[in-house]
Amino acid sequence: MRMGATRVIVAAALVAIALGALGMLLLQERGAVPATTTGTPTSETAARQVYIVGGGATFINPQMQKWIRDYMEETGGRAAVNYQSIGSGAGEAKWLEGTLDFGASDVAISRAGYQKLLESGRRFIQVPVIAGSIAITYNLPEFAQAGCVLRLTGGMVADIYLGNIIKWSDPRIAELQEERCRSLLPDREIFGVHRSDGSGTTALFTMYLTLVSEEWKERVGYGYTVTWPRDALGLGEGGRGNEGVSAKVQSTPYSIGYVETAYAVQLKLPVAALRNRDGYFVFPNETTVAEALKRAALELPGPQEFWGELPLRHYLNREGKLSYPIVGTPVVFMYLDVPADTARALYDFFRWVLTKGQEREHIVEGFIPLPKELRARALQYLELLVAPR
């Protein structure tokens, strides 16, 4: 009898606990419980270790991890930084929520995020940390055998993805190629591969296409995800992530795709030469990317302005004989109104990233350091973190 009552009480308690937990979950879901800031000790003792946690863009993840490893080694483990590769959009959202000390995005804070940021009234800075570029990769067995390299213009890339150019043998493509390669273009349909997941790579690539094709601008536009007209013809398909697109292009003869150059380099994919604004055919490499980006250094908007259109206005399709047209800089953003020791830790880490971190030994294969002009501007913005307030 007593035993029975005890069990009923236990059961009731269990239900109560479960209900409580579910209630908490529901409240949290609705945002009633404020998110707590991760691991920022409030203690003021300078000797204490400060943890900074960041997250966002998947593209810079390998580079971030190397920087963190090297930096922690150099400082003898006094500083601790953690970076979570959760995607540009998620990084931005978590940073806005206050769960991350810094966020990182392939392009910049989105318009939706920027609006929330303005509403919150918090002060922040945005800083470019590394250079990136997008390579056009392709699979043309005939070209590979003969040692030919594909040449394209931006407008033609747009026309391919729009479905205006159907076959490799199209005269518009043929006339760009070297004499000896022209006849090797097969009479086959081009299979257009793109990212199926939302990505900064797609954002940058489609921004470039809106710059070089009026029709693209009107029919498609730019963003993390767009609707691809070529898919509707049954001549295009998505792949998940840079690795998914690379794999699909590699395994599908007569296909074309776009990937972050770092992937093309690491996987040794064939890369097309793209005609730049001045009419020269260029490959994405350290020289051509730096050449394009250094021109943007002086025009870099203020640290608190809307950077969403930065690539569109200042990075892409730059003038200059040696400029590669599809370049960008992943951007890191952090709040200024944080505890002094957090600000100091962020400052120390990113100062190291923008100075020593840009040296060859700290750069992962396929990534490209920022040109020094841009680095100088970024360091200026970073100073705001430790400016007297």
């Binding site: 009923v8 609705r30 997941d197 939302g198 730019y222 398909e237």
Partner: protein
């Protein structure tokens, strides 16, 4: 004493039951709450249009909803044949000595992680189906109805076949057990009427048809929700013509897997994805209720 015990047990069991039901309720309420902004803005519009254009904040996911239904239904049909066939083979033809080995093998097949199935589907199954099924049929002029296969063979059809292979061990084990549990006197009575073996098997299947429906309900739920493997073979392409099963497309779970990481950069994409999840839940639930109504418990 005995009745006390059973009362206690009843209390404990019902407590856990309440918790279970509450968590389902919580999941549904979160889905509804999170999708309210887009329901408020667009109503049922996302359910009936196939325009996914985040740049213009347009989110119609009919293409994914249709894709989910097409792949899951096709998988269900294929799996029905596979699982009934394998269960009959097990119960009627496989010698007693071999049965444990066959049973273990089936259980093993059920425990393979879906990513492994996905890789196999991408590298082996899709190219195979393309070369030996889709290409020949397209060449016969069916591509107008069934769509044009893509170079890698990724398509609704590949996803359906893969799903069928994945869910068959589950469905088959249920049917197999029921088939073995057909009472001996029923079986003997059938044979005593002078029926042949195929006729007996058919009658036995009619005898357990409700269990077959239950097995199919379970298979369907699994097929609707499967993400990792499907995302690898379905092609991930926005395709409004989801009835053209040779062409690549999307299912709701693969759409969510693809779009969620950057969704928060848009105003309405997160609500739209929750709405899609809600729609998928509703479809899975409705089909389950329907199948189970005619299934085991009436």
């Amino acid at each position: 004493m005995g009745s006390k015990r059973s009362t206690d047990f009843f209390c404990l069991a019902s407590a856990f039951n309440v918790v279970l039901m509450l968590s389902v309720a919580l999941v549904v309420s979160v889905l509804v709450l999170r999708s309210l902004p887009i329901i408020h803005r667009d109503g049922v519009y996302p359910l009936v249009t196939s325009v996914w254009n985040p740049t213009r904040e347009e989110y119609g996911f009919l293409f994914a909803l249709g894709g989910t239904l097409v792949t899951a239904s096709l998988a269900l049909l294929i799996s029905l044949a596979l699982s009934v066939g394998s269960a009959v083979a097990y119960a009627e033809f496989i010698p007693q000595k071999l049965r444990p080995a066959v049973k273990n093998f089936m259980d093993l097949a059920a425990s393979i992680p879906s990513v492994v199935y996905g890789l196999w589907g991408l590298r082996v199954l899709s190219p195979f189906l393309r070369s030996y099924l889709m290409e020949p049929l397209s060449a016969l002029g069916l591509s107008g109805v069934l769509g044009v296969p893509s170079p890698a063979g990724t398509s609704f059809l590949s996803a359906s076949v893969l799903l069928a292979i994945m869910v068959t061990p589950f469905a088959s084990s249920i049917i197999r057990e029921r088939l073995l549990a057909v009472p001996m006197h029923v079986r003997e009575a059938l044979y005593s009427l002078g029926l042949t073996k195929p006729e007996v098997i058919l009658l036995e299947l009619r005898y357990i048809r409700r269990s077959v429906l239950t097995a199919m309900a379970i298979a369907f739920s699994r097929a609707v929700g499967e993400t990792a493997a499907v995302a690898m073979v379905v092609g991930n392409t926005i395709n409004p013509n989801f009835f053209r099963v040779f062409s690549p497309g999307y299912t709701i779970s693969s759409l969510i897997a693809d779009q969620y990481p950057n969704a928060e950069a848009y105003y309405y994409m997160v609500p739209a994805l929750f709405y899609a999840a809600l729609a998928m839940f509703a479809v899975g639930f409705a089909v389950n209720v329907l199948l189970l109504r005619y299934g085991e418990r009436r």
